[in-house]
Symmetry: C2
Subunit: 285 residues, 2 copies
Amino acid sequence: MIRVAVLGYGNIGRAAEQAIVAAPDLELAGIYHHDDNLDDLQADVVLLCTPTREVPAFATIMARKGICTVDSFDIHGQISSLREQLMPLCLEHKTVSIISAGWDPGTDSMVRALLLAMAPKGLTYTNFGPGRSMGHSVAAKAIKGVKNALSMTIPLGTGVHRRMVYIELEDGADFKTVEAALLRDDYFAHDETHVIQVESVDELNNVAHGVHLTRSGVSGVTHNQRFEFNMEINNPALTGQVMVSCARAAYRMKEHGEYGCRTMIELRPIDMLPGKAEELIRALV
Amino acid sequence: MIRVAVLGYGNIGRAAEQAIVAAPDLELAGIYHHDDNLDDLQADVVLLCTPTREVPAFATIMARKGICTVDSFDIHGQISSLREQLMPLCLEHKTVSIISAGWDPGTDSMVRALLLAMAPKGLTYTNFGPGRSMGHSVAAKAIKGVKNALSMTIPLGTGVHRRMVYIELEDGADFKTVEAALLRDDYFAHDETHVIQVESVDELNNVAHGVHLTRSGVSGVTHNQRFEFNMEINNPALTGQVMVSCARAAYRMKEHGEYGCRTMIELRPIDMLPGKAEELIRALV
């Protein structure tokens, strides 16, 4: 059994715990909160389910202990530099760190890589939603006069998105003033944005999300090769499950001496799955 | 530049040649017909574009020469045993053979593996078509009285398919007799099959094909996670391109000393793509 611990116990941490317990070849090696003392933590792999900005520090601590990590670090512009930062640590301490292992970045990245191998020229569009954007919801909540906010991402195709922003006002706040401030905010100024006042944001909350990823491209010299990947999912449940599947891959890569920091496009799909290679090949190929 | 040769020059071989020429990091190391003398063949990788039943023999010859191979061997029930057969040869001669590298088996296999990692419990259905089934067309053509035949696979969902069989009769053959014989044939007896007499099968021929692959499954303990992968493609163009992308992966795996016989679910997506890891990660993850 591969011993997998969970660090951070919000929505993702709880979903990851469930996926560990459901797996035939993994056992839960403990649940830690991000302010716990980690000196006695023992595990083959630790899932970093903390807020994304805390990931680099915890990944560093674990690499120094020689423990593999998996995170779902989701700041797209900083993934490559996080990989560069963790790579020498992983090599020095003979460990594996799989970063940005969620659904985007994560499994969507693998699909984008696969489609590029199938049709090297062309355009891929990743359309998100309908679903809650955490970043936009936080940005909306930071506007003066907003008590609580939910920003839904609505896909309009070709990577263009509408923002439907549901806000609960603080006592005495003026809707028109708040709406104008929100529409000027850099998070919303570039997209079609609708602001809607509601009594209770909490009553609208829902962890459903979706992706509609398309590619039209060229295989060799043949144009009009068309591909699409769609999903409608519970967001934390999928993120937790993907992290758990990557924990298995991290463990196996360490066993094979393939140390280093890797993104999901650098993993073999088979390493994410329980069972013997021969049986998986018979069932899936 | 990676030197890639093509062995077998039918639809797939021609498409593979085009994909090699279009690739920025590959060069064509020659085109061979399956009865050519192969003693002087020099290449980093040879694409085996021969009929599928000839693949094991040519893969063996190439492995003994220390040359990597890629094939699109498509007899699903024999893939695992072909891998077992080629594995020791590849290890002995320090080479890499990537087998069953097309779209199914091939890229569809990678998608099925990925979906299993995302939702370990549930049902995946692979629905093929609309498109020509080579095996069923050959079986229809073998019926007494049939001059030429085209069997189209029509997806009805949940992995159930209809067969639309277009036949050109030999002079003097009776349609009703031929139809009855065809419907009794083991290739057609188990599916909804429609037989249609036409003047010219050649005028219907079209290399378009498609896939509609679905999974509804469970991530952790969360049900109703829904995924689908669709494509509408030119069949030989995609097969040739996938083989060429796998040639790159085979070359890199050999460079890293990762010798052996592998299916596509055992490849890292990044190894199929040209360019530097850092740039691919920035573009795709």
